[in-house]
């Protein structure tokens, strides 16, 4: 812009009506032949009109206060099965049993780890069989790697839709569940909605 006849500051002063007489005339003449500068003046005039109108018109403080208070009637959702909250299905990104199979190791009822991802958050779950016997429940230790996830509710739902167990996450996003053999969906409540981890099988 150094070879441009009119400085940006001049355009601003002109657009805001600060100039008069010859300086104003010179800039008006320039604008008539310069589309770029004309556009800048047009935008400045538009912004000025909006700012001035907004200064004059606004809802009453009482109406604004009532509208702002609407949110206090809404509690963070405890989620029933038919909730209208947004459901986000997380993707399975890691299964330690696949790694074992790839390495040629025999699978079995040994401990295994799953990882699910949603947006840029990872949910790790480690499944440990009970040492006492084949039919004893497994211990599931999970962690959500999102600092805002403490105090979330994690719910394990059996294949028939029944809730088997719920637990809260601690300050590290860690949760503990004890689950019998079967197929489960695990749901994690968050501020954004419900994160759903599907097709979890405990052998």
């Amino acid at each position: 812009m150094s070879t441009h006849a009119v400085s940006y500051d001049d355009l601003m002063a002109f657009a805001m009506g600060e100039l008069s007489g010859r300086p104003a005339t010179e800039i008006a003449t320039h604008i008539a032949g310069c589309a770029g500068c004309a556009a800048t003046v047009r935008r400045a005039t538009l912004v000025q009109a909006t700012v001035r109108a907004d200064a004059l018109f606004s809802p009453s403080p009482a109406a604004l206060a009532k509208v702002n208070a609407l949110i206090s009637g809404r509690k963070p959702a405890a989620v029933p099965q038919d909730s209208m909250l947004r459901r986000m299905v997380a993707a399975l990104s890691f299964d330690s049993r696949n790694q074992a199979a790839l390495a040629g190791l025999r699978g079995g009822s040994d401990a295994f780890t799953l990882a699910y991802e949603i947006d840029d958050t990872v949910i790790d779950m480690h499944f440990e069989p009970d040492a006492s016997g084949a039919n004893a429940p497994w211990q599931l230790t999970g962690q959500i790697d999102d600092p805002s996830s403490s105090g979330s509710t994690v719910t394990a739902i059996a294949g028939d839709g029944a809730v088997r167990q719920s637990a809260g996450t601690d300050e590290h996003g860690v949760f503990l569940l004890t689950l019998a053999t079967g197929d489960y969906t695990i749901e994690v409540e968050t501020a954004d909605g419900l994160v759903v981890l599907q097709d979890i099988r405990i052998p």
């Binding site: 912004v47 909006t50 018109f57 949110i71 805002s148």
Partner: protein, 189 residues
């Protein structure tokens, strides 16, 4: 998971704010209301309502928005829904004032906003959105200068904002250039 409204909520888009509001986030809701309060109120006025009726429409529209948050969570920008909804409610109130009572249920909905009014309202909202993207100092300076009439009191403005008088011109130019880039991005030619 997207950040909560503790990170500057004014920089979150509508879809993110709606998502937070569904979770009961008060700051997110107040941010959404602040973002669109003048759009809704000005459309009500443009529909010919007086202040009291415009206030009523303002409350009705935001109550409707609040009740329909789940259904609106995928909207990137709520402006056009708000313009349409406000226009419809303003029309309903204006009609009931003229007929002296509530409308019959089967009255045809002729309350689609006139295209020019909707365009102007939308354009003004894009200006507000662009101003909201500026840093606080730029927004404060430009607002002070734009509100002044032909002979702005630079000394008073400089004092109010803690700036040197001589820096007002260059700062104004720098700030408006930034604002202009936001306006161009928003499609304002």
């Amino acid at each position: 998971m997207r950040g909560r409204a503790g990170n500057d909520p004014t920089q979150l888009d509508d879809a993110a704010l709606v998502s937070l509001c569904i979770g009961g986030d008060q700051v997110a809701w107040e941010t959404l209301v602040a973002r669109y309060q003048r759009l809704v109120y000005s459309v009500a006025l443009r529909c010919g309502l007086q202040d009291d009726d415009a206030d009523d429409v303002f409350q009705i529209v935001f109550t409707t928005l609040f009740r329909r948050l789940e259904g609106l969570r995928d909207q990137q920008r709520l402006a056009s829904w708000l313009i349409t909804t406000t226009s419809r409610e303003a029309w309903r109130v204006a009609r009931s004032r003229r007929t002296g009572g509530e409308l019959e249920e089967d009255v045809l909905d002729t309350s689609a906003p006139p295209p020019e009014m909707a365009e102007n309202a939308d354009r003004d909202q894009r200006v507000r959105d662009a101003l909201a993207k500026l840093d606080d100092k730029c927004r404060a300076l430009l607002t002070e200068l734009f509100l002044e009439s032909e002979a702005p009191n630079y000394s008073a403005i400089a004092g109010k904002l803690g700036m040197a008088v001589g820096s007002i011109g260059p700062t104004r130019a720098r700030c408006f250039k930034k604002l202009e880039s936001f306006l161009i991005d928003a499609g304002l030619s």
